[in-house]
């Protein structure tokens, strides 16, 4: 195992230990705050899996989050559908993946890359938000849908009800840990290495027999499916879904979370989402208008001082101390 992988696993283990210990010191409200931040962290990890591995920025990733959220809401709010929670989650994942497959197919096989891809996906996000507003008979329009029930299902005779703070926190934390670990395994294996090669030189990779557009498409679909899962989890925890969840603002915020956390690290974006959400809540509580200004400043400083994100602080400190020791 190389040092980089070992460091990642150590940081993952520390984060997992903190997540396990947190309920011991936190009250119900704090648990729900971190639970929601973890869901947004899962969403950030989904973007990072695509952006970090392929170098192609999707500027409308909230569209998949919103699609997942709306499908989950529509399925669970319909009493005629049995096993609403399970079918809702499956539908959310499949729906987001389906939309990504359609859009991604034309973009990747049409040779659309770089800033052109970013612009098209930005437009996709705007269209999704507008559709959520305009298609009011289904989506509830501007006010969205409310009264979405918490996730509840039976597994092997055991009834799981996530209406309480602690079970929902544990469930979300476990899902985030499993998905991030799975994405990391994919990233460091054959699939991830070939994606890095495609990011470096797509023509070279294709000339070696790799179907680059197909690989990019599959990665995009997987990324969108996880964003859909995050959307489904969020609306069940929040109890409502609104057009903002597929909007441009959330698409921008998730980019900031990934950039601040560290693109290509998977764990960094989760931490970035949690840190920024917590900071937003704290700062907004005493001055709501101060937050956007501070966020902008922090983002600019991070880009200049820590271009690899907050997760790179450890590596930077390590190299700094090593340099000082050598100088002595």
């Amino acid at each position: 195992m190389i040092a980089r992988d070992r460091n990642w696993l150590v940081i993952f283990a520390v984060c997992a230990a903190l997540a396990v210990a947190y309920p011991l010191i936190a009250d119900g409200y704090q648990l729900t705050v971190i639970r929601d931040a973890l869901i947004f962290g899962l969403f950030a990890a989904s973007l990072d899996f695509f952006w970090g591995r392929t170098g192609i920025l999707c500027f409308g990733h909230a569209a998949f989050f919103g699609i997942g959220g709306y499908i989950m809401a529509l399925v669970t709010l319909n009493d005629a559908i049995p096993f609403g929670s399970l079918l809702g989650v499956m539908g959310a994942v499949a729906g987001a993946a389906f939309v990504a497959a359609i859009i991604g197919y034309f973009l990747f096989f049409g040779g659309i890359r770089g800033s052109y891809f970013t612009i098209v996906t930005l437009a996709m996000g705007v269209i999704c938000q507008q559709a959520a507003v305009s298609w009011s008979s289904v989506t509830g329009g501007d006010s969205g849908l409310i009264g979405i029930p918490p996730i509840a299902f039976d597994v092997g005779g055991l009834h799981v009800d996530l209406s309480q703070d602690l079970p929902s926190y544990i469930f979300v934390a476990a899902i985030v840990a499993l998905v991030v670990l799975a994405l990391w395994s994919i990233s460091r294996g054959r699939w991830g290495t070939v994606l890095t090669a495609i990011q470096d030189n797509e023509v070279r990779a294709a000339a070696l027999g790799h179907n680059a557009p197909l690989r990019l498409l599959v990665t995009f679909i997987l990324s969108a499916a996880i964003a859909g899962l995050a959307g489904a989890l969020y609306v069940c925890m929040a109890g409502l879904v609104a057009p903002d969840l597929s909007g441009l603002l959330l698409s921008t915020e998730v980019i900031v979370w990934v950039a601040v956390g560290g693109r290509g690290t998977l764990l960094g974006p989760v931490l970035g989402a949690i840190v920024i959400q917590r900071a937003q809540q704290t700062i907004s509580s005493f001055n709501p208008s101060l937050w956007p200004l501070l966020l902008g400043c922090v983002f600019v400083i991070i880009v200049f001082v820590l271009p690899d994100g907050i997760l790179s602080i450890y590596a930077r400190l390590k190299s700094l101390f090593r340099g000082r020791r050598q100088a002595q």
């Binding site: 890095t196 990011q199 470096d200 030189n201 070279r204 070696l208 027999g209 790799h210």
Partner: protein, 234 residues
């Protein structure tokens, strides 16, 4: 004939008002070594792009094992057994030497040669963990040749494989290809006459997009017209 691997017939290509290639023929047999030479702008790289299916000829055809490959996606051409080394060293700079070769091997339908053997073959056996972006220019050229070999090609197309190499590296590259002779066919586009002389194989001379001469290199080298147009007189 049954041992014909690549057959280009009457290939022509036009870019707007410019006739870049006209009436070119090339037959590459199984395990044959062949060079394409010519002055700058003669159409060598364009012809290679047509041979690899990257460019679709406006006239004529290019068949590999009897299949027309014009316009096929690059990955399908690679899987047919055509490997290519690009003019500018084209490796994956973020990956190690070993990972570059692994990525190449994963693209092959049925890879045979182990990674270690490939690294030894291209004289990079002690650079396995070095990032490809940190290699010297000549080593990048060798790595790219190694990557092309990793897909177990039936035909290896090399676009200026020794560009930017020292004379020693150039001769080492020629020796490497001669060692591999008999395993697959090679078509090399090259400027460096020392390299072509060392290979001493069938040679096609291009001039202004047309065939000037073709035949064994020792005949080409002494041809008056080739010397006038390209090689120059001593």
């Amino acid at each position: 004939m049954s041992d014909v691997l690549l057959q280009a017939e009457n290939v022509g290509i036009r870019f707007g008002g410019l006739q870049a290639l006209e009436g070119l023929n090339l037959t590459v047999r199984d395990k044959e070594l062949c060079c394409i030479i010519g002055p700058n702008g003669a159409g060598k790289s364009t012809f290679l792009n047509v041979l690899t299916g990257t460019l679709r000829p406006t006239s004529g055809s290019v068949c590999f094992l009897g299949h027309n490959i014009a316009g096929l996606p690059l990955h399908r051409i690679a899987r047919l057994g055509i490997a290519r080394k690009f003019q500018i060293p084209s490796v994956f700079p973020s990956l190690s030497v070993e990972d570059n070769l692994k990525v190449a091997r994963w693209g092959a339908p049925s890879p045979v040669r182990p990674i270690g053997e490939l690294m030894e073959l291209v004289a990079l056996g002690n650079r396995a963990t070095t990032l490809a972006g940190a290699l010297a220019h000549g080593q990048k050229q060798w790595l790219e040749i190694g990557m092309a070999l990793a897909i177990e090609p039936r035909l290896l197309l090399l676009d200026e494989p020794t560009a930017g190499m020292t004379p020693q590296e150039t001769m080492a590259t020629a020796e490497m290809l001669l060692r591999l002779k008999g395993e697959f066919s090679v078509v090399a586009v090259e400027h460096d006459i020392r390299f072509v002389r060392a290979l001493n194989c069938e040679t096609l001379v291009l001039h202004q997009g047309r065939r000037l001469r073709s035949g064994p290199f020792h005949d080409i080298e002494s041809d008056e017209m080739v010397r006038d147009v390209y090689l120059g007189r001593r």
